[in-house]
């Protein structure tokens, strides 16, 4: 048997391409109406998320009874990549749509599903992911924040750190320790919970990026009481549940398009008559991006077919994030001799500067390079 990791050629179906036309028209209208400014970054925008919800484009793959459209994962793919290219302000609904909603769909009680999922699809509520802690980043299974079962509910104590967007989220899907790891399985003993961030005893504190940007937070849990019903899935078994989430989290376009504005701006900045060096640089970047997109769509096809392509998703994320991380520096080199309108240069350099400073986080968030290569090595049979 071959150890090679295969990505079958998948093409987006006609219904997905038809949707692309609709999405582009919508984005054009919203930009023209001033709902958002593509240059403002992917900030939260309540109004925008509600409009996207009204279109039926949040939770589009979910069952209709929870507000979804029961459309395909490949259609979701198109919406996601068009929003990323347009730099649409999806921050409010992005995490809930990609990952938290599907977790609830799979593991939450009927009551919670009926309460929360339709609100996600309307673009009304936002989610964050409470995994990392001061002593537990890549090593997720070292998490210490405790959830103790009491008669009144689950009592949570501890703190989460580097939690993206906790300060503007309504809910968190948190990973808490419900019992000690066992001798045989150090991953045992963690459970997933739905946390309403307005619950008494929760406080958040900003932890700024080196750019001064507020995305990270510390979230402190001080005798926080969660209803029994908020345990998602089986107690102590989060390690099994979390695995299927990873394929969704790691294979999407956001794993290689995060800094792509630099490439599209670079093309315009260089202009219609590149010299040989510029042309070669652009050609290589486009070839690499096209290959990543083909691979990412192939994984979307696997998800669509009901598979759990965790290994393939890890390959996409490692190749994709390394690529998008290098992109600003490559573009910086390629743009060195472009010297036309100084106004253009200033604009391009602002975009470059922003992306150069955010680049280091890309190979950390959602699974570090080192963790991903460990998964790939295991897939090759080496671990």
């Amino acid at each position: 048997m071959s150890v090679a990791i295969e990505f079958d050629p998948i093409r987006l179906p006609p219904e997905a391409e038809a949707l692309r036309v609709e999405v582009r028209a919508f984005l054009k209208e919203e930009m023209a109406a001033g709902t958002f400014d593509p240059q403002a970054g992917r900030k939260g925008n309540d109004d925008f998320s509600r409009k996207v919800g009204a279109k039926g484009w949040i939770g589009i793959t979910w069952p209709k009874k929870y507000g979804g459209q029961e459309r395909s994962f490949l259609e979701r793919y198109v919406i996601n990549e068009e929003f990323l290219f347009a730099r649409a302000p999806t921050r409010k609904h992005f995490t809930a749509d990609r990952q938290s909603g599907p977790v609830l769909l799979k593991y939450a009680s009927e009551e919670i599903k009926q309460d929360i999922l339709p609100r996600i699809t309307r673009g009304e509520v936002s989610f964050c992911i409470g995994m990392s802690e001061p002593d537990s980043g890549s090593d997720l299974f070292a998490a210490k924040t405790k959830a103790e079962r009491t008669d009144d509910g689950w009592l949570i104590n501890g703190r989460k750190l580097w939690t993206s967007l906790a300060h503007e989220s309504d809910y968190m899907i948190g990973l808490f320790r419900t019992s000690a790891p066992t001798q045989e399985n150090r991953r045992h003993g963690l459970s997933q919970f739905l946390v309403d961030l307005k619950t008494p005893g929760i406080s958040t504190r900003p932890v700024l990026h080196p750019t001064g940007n507020h995305e990270f937070n510390e979230v402190i849990f001080d005798d926080v009481l969660l209803p029994h019903d908020n345990l998602l899935g089986e107690a102590d078994m989060a390690w099994k549940q979390a695995t299927s989430e990873l394929a969704y989290e790691r294979s999407g376009s956001e794993r290689f398009l995060e800094t792509s504005q630099v490439l599209f701006e670079l093309v315009d900045f260089i202009g219609e008559n590149p010299d040989v060096r510029e042309a070669e640089g652009l050609g290589r970047l486009v070839a690499q991006l096209h290959t990543l997109r083909r691979m990412s769509i192939s994984v979307a096809g696997m998800l669509h077919a009901g598979k759990e392509p965790v290994l393939e998703a890890s390959v996409v994320k490692d190749l994709g994030t390394v690529w998008e991380q290098a992109l600003p520096s490559v573009a910086r080199d390629l743009s060195a001799f472009v010297d036309r309108d100084p106004g253009n240069r200033m604009r391009f350099e602002e975009i470059l500067a922003h992306n150069i400073t955010i680049a280091p986080k890309l190979t950390i968030q959602g699974g570090t390079t080192e963790v991903l290569r460990g998964i790939v090595a295991r897939g090759l049979g080496l671990r």
């Binding site: 150890v3 990505f7 050629p9 042309a279 290589r284 096209h290 080496l382």
Partner: protein, 355 residues
């Protein structure tokens, strides 16, 4: 791969396992392995997969031909299999019946222009024609008075300058001056040297993807078996991460090569931008993977892999030679980059999503 392609792929694998094992060929003191292997491939119709039955081919189809090329890459096949497939495909475009036997094609580089004069004689020189001096015929894409033509040429009529690629395979500069083709015919509108380079680059990309797959396989197997510092070297994280990178490069190469073959198999014509984007991306990205992947493969094997007796060089040297055929990554990148620049940033996004 559909069932028919799997069947062809399995047949090719069986023949190479039996008659074209890389270690056996590497150990061989002469090339007595060559004739039986080539005959078996010919008898199975694998050398003419891209030629219709009525023109003397096996009529197996585009996808099947690419499946054969991947297997040929997996075995680092040191034979003009890809070249014969390509020559047959080109002759078939002009409805020329196969002459039989091994063939190659020209030109293989942008800028090499061959001409068919009013006197019925060819002129011009083609660089880097693989296996030219070892095959019977060449399928030559030339510019005739009324447009592009395919000329079938006997190698004995041409002047082949001695040369080899870095894998030691025959690769000649061929001078066609004064050569009268055995036969020639016009190509359909829209088929020109650019088309031949696209098909050739797609073929080489698939061979490279296959070779990378084998480099990955033998490197992983070796890392599991070779013990150093008291444990298999594959247990060391540094080695694991290198091999993971090799696995990812091989995955990217296989993905884009397969995707390109799929595009060529299903497209309506050669004039679309989609096929150019796929082929250029494949030749560039697979070429890059070949560069990095070959180096990681050697690193995993250490000194053992850097010897004549080990098979690793058969794969790595071909990977590095094939990068140059039908134009290198750099040449394709310049061409792709110019097209991208002409369309602007938003045009780029539209091209990517339309492909």
């Amino acid at each position: 791969m559909d069932d028919a392609q799997s069947l062809v792929s399995d047949a090719a694998s069986r023949i190479f396992r039996d008659l074209g094992d890389p270690q056996t060929i590497n150990n061989a003191v002469d090339d007595s392995w060559r004739a039986p292997l080539w005959s078996a491939l010919e008898e199975a119709g694998l050398t003419t997969a891209w030629v219709a039955d009525e023109l003397g081919g096996a009529g197996a189809g585009i996808g099947a031909g690419f499946a054969v090329l991947r297997v040929a890459g997996e075995f680092a096949a040191p034979l003009p299999l890809a070249e014969t497939l390509l020559a047959g495909w080109l002759l078939g475009m002009a409805d020329i019946v196969l002459p039989g036997g091994a063939m190659s094609v020209a030109p293989t580089r942008r800028g090499d222009t061959l001409t068919l004069g009013a006197d019925g004689k060819l002129s011009g020189t083609a660089r880097a024609v693989s296996f030219a001096a070892e095959v019977g015929h060449l399928a030559v894409l030339a510019q005739g008075g009324g447009g592009a033509v395919v000329a079938l040429v006997e190698v004995v009529d041409c002047h082949c300058r001695d040369g080899r690629n870095i894998a030691g395979e025959v690769q000649n500069v061929v001078d066609f001056s004064g050569v009268t083709p055995v036969q020639w015919a016009a190509l359909p509108d829209g088929i020109d040297v650019g088309t031949l380079l696209l098909m050739g680059a797609a073929a080489r990309s698939m061979q490279m993807a296959g070779a990378l797959q084998t480099v990955l396989e033998i490197a992983v197997r070796y890392a599991e078996e070779r013990v150093a510092f008291g444990k298999p070297i594959g247990k060391f994280q540094a080695v694991q991460h290198n091999l993971a990178r090799l696995g990812e490069e091989a995955a990217a190469a296989i993905a884009i090569a397969n995707s390109t073959a799929y595009t060529i198999e299903h497209m309506d014509g050669w004039d679309g931008n989609g096929v150019f984007l796929d082929v250029a991306s494949a030749k560039i990205r697979v070429g890059e993977a070949a560069g990095q992947g070959g180096a990681i493969g050697h690193q995993a094997f250490g000194a053992i892999g850097f010897t004549q007796e080990h098979i690793l060089h058969r794969f790595v040297q071909r990977l590095w030679a094939w990068r140059d055929d039908f134009d290198s990554e750099a040449v394709w990148a310049v061409e792709l980059g110019r097209r991208v620049a002409a369309k602007g940033g938003e045009g780029l996004w539209h091209s990517l999503t339309a492909a």
